[in-house]
Symmetry: C2
C-alpha cells in the first residue's frame, strides 16, 4: 500500500492530482523521476547521481549523509497518469512518529553555468528575493508535528537574518504553538543542534576537499523527535536530499554549497552558544 | 618624490593620464579616493572601511592581513587634474627588490544586493565569463619581476580550472620564462605555498565567524622574493587589498568570500601535495 508522505515539508507534494513522492510501510520512499518535458534532465540527473555515488563516496561516513538508494521502479503515478518511473529511496522519516522536520536549501546560487538562460533568470530572481543570496541558504520548509507549527513556504522565503534565526530557535523549542506570543524557549537547542553541528562539521570537512560534485538546489534535511513528557529530544538526523541539479565538479570544490553551509553552521552555533549560557 | 608603483599587477595604473596610485620612498602607498562621479561611493566606502577596521578587528592577528592605514592626504593627482584626496596606506611592496606578485580576486560574486541594476548586470556578466563563477576566484594579475613573466589581464580572466592551476604552478617556478615550452618546476612551491597556506588558514578561521564585513571585489595579494642563486624564496606575504565594495555583514558571515577562499586554498593545497611528493 503506497501512501502520501505525512511529513513532507518541501518539494512537490503528491496530492490534488500532482505527481509527487509516495511511501510504503517498509521504509521505502518512491520519488517520481522528473521528466515532464523533453528537455527536462532533472530525473536523469538525480538517477545518475545516485548510481555514481557508491563509486564516488567510498567512505561510509560520507555515504551516510545520503538516503540509501534501491534502484528504480515503475509505479502508478500519484497524479493518475499511469505507470511512471520512480527512484526507490530510503524513507528518512520512517520510524519517527511525530517528527520535527526542516528542509534547508543550501547555497546562495541555485543555478549553474550549464543551465538555460530562462532557468538562470528564474533562479537568480528567486535567490535575490529570498534569503539565499544574503544568507547563503534558505529554509524551504519546517514543521513541528506535535504543535502543528508549520509556517507557509511563502512566509519562509523572504525572511531576514533575524527572521531565519527566530525560525531556527522555534524549531528546537517546546513552546512554538503560540508563536507570536512566546519567546522561544530553545528547550532542545543543546541536544538537537549539538548533534546536528557535529554532523554538519563532518559534511563541511568533506566539502572542503571533494571536487567530484557541485550540488545546486540541494537541501540539508534536519529531523528529530520531541518527547515533551520527558523534556527530551531523540533521534536527530542530518541528511542531504534533492540531487536533480547536481553537476560535475570538474576538479573544483563546491564553493557555493560550502559557503552556504558555513553560514548555516554559524547560525546554529550562535543559537547553541546562547542556549549553553542559559543552562 | 612620488612615483608610479613598479610592480602593480591589478587595478587602475597611474600612467597615460589615468588617475592611479603613487608611492614614495618611505614605504607609503597613496591611493586616490575613487570619486569620479556623483554617485560613486567607492572612495568613501574604502575610507570608512579603513577607519572602522581598528575598532572592528581588535586582534592584531587579523589586522595584520590589512595594509596599515595612515589617514588621507590631498596630493596632485597622477592624471594631472590637480589636488585629489588620497588614502595613505602602507606600501606592501616596499622592501622587495624583484618581487613575484599575484592578485587574486576572491568570491564567485563581485556584486551585492545594494548595488545598482546596471552594476549588477556588468559584474554578473564578468563573473560568468571569468573563472569567478566556476572557481570562486579569479587571478586579476600576476608577475615575476625576475623573468618578466606577466600574462595579460585579459588572458588571465577566462582561464579554466586547469589554466588557473598552471598559472599558480608557474608563480612558484624558477623556469617560467619560456612558459610555453617548459613544464613548471615548482621549485618554490613548498616554501611559498606552505607559508601562504598557513596565513590563508588563519584568514579562513576568521571568515568562518566574522559577521561585520562582506568583502566584494576584494583581493588576496600574494608576494614573495626569489633568490635564484641560492634557490630560495624569501619574505612570503599575504594581504587583503581593495575595499571599495565592502558592505555591512548584518550578522551573517561572508559566505561568498569564504567559499571562494576555500576554493583557492584547495588549489594551493593540491600543488603543495604534488610538490611534496617530488621532494
Amino acid at each position: 500500500m503506497l501512501k502520501i508522505p505525512e511529513h513532507q515539508v518541501a518539494g512537490h507534494k503528491a496530492k490534488d492530482g500532482i505527481l509527487g513522492p509516495l511511501v510504503d510501510d517498509f521504509g521505502k520512499f518512491y520519488k517520481p523521476l522528473q521528466t515532464n518535458k523533453d528537455d527536462d534532465t532533472r530525473g536523469s540527473t538525480e538517477l545518475s547521481f545516485y548510481t555514481s555515488l557508491a563509486a564516488a563516496a567510498h567512505d561510509y561516513s560520507i555515504r551516510s549523509f545520503f538516503p540509501a538508494f534501491h534502484g528504480t521502479r515503475l509505479l502508478d503515478a500519484s497524479d493518475g497518469s499511469g505507470p511512471h518511473p520512480h527512484l526507490v529511496l530510503e524513507d528518512l522519516l520512517c520510524g519517527y512518529s511525530k517528527p520535527s522536520v526542516m528542509d534547508v536549501k543550501i547555497g546562495s546560487r541555485t543555478w549553474h553555468l550549464g543551465d538555460s538562460e530562462d532557468y538562470i533568470c528564474k533562479c537568480l530572481k528567486k535567490d535575490r528575493e529570498s534569503s539565499s543570496l544574503p544568507l547563503g541558504f534558505r529554509i524551504s520548509g519546517v514543521k513541528d508535528s506535535i504543535s502543528s507549527w508549520e509556517p507557509t513556504r511563502k512566509s519562509l522565503q523572504c525572511l531576514s537574518a533575524h527572521g531565519v534565526a527566530l525560525v531556527l530557535n522555534k524549531f528546537v523549542s517546546s513552546n512554538n504553538i503560540n508563536h507570536d506570543d512566546h519567546h522561544p524557549d530553545c528547550a532542545f537547542a543543546t541536544e538537537v543542534y549539538g548533534a546536528v553541528l557535529e554532523r554538519l562539521q563532518k559534511l563541511k570537512d568533506w566539502f572542503e576537499v571533494q571536487t567530484v560534485y557541485h550540488f545546486y538546489s540541494c537541501s540539508v534535511l534536519v529531523v528529530y523527535e520531541k518527547d515533551l513528557g520527558k523534556g527530551k529530544a531523540t533521534n536527530p538526523l542530518v541528511k542531504l536530499v534533492d540531487f536533480a541539479h547536481v553537476v560535475d565538479g570538474n576538479g573544483v570544490i563546491d564553493h557555493n554549497f560550502l559557503g552556504g553551509l558555513c553560514s548555516f553552521i554559524k547560525f546554529l552555533k550562535d543559537i547553541l552558544a546562547v542556549a549553553c549560557l542559559h543552562k
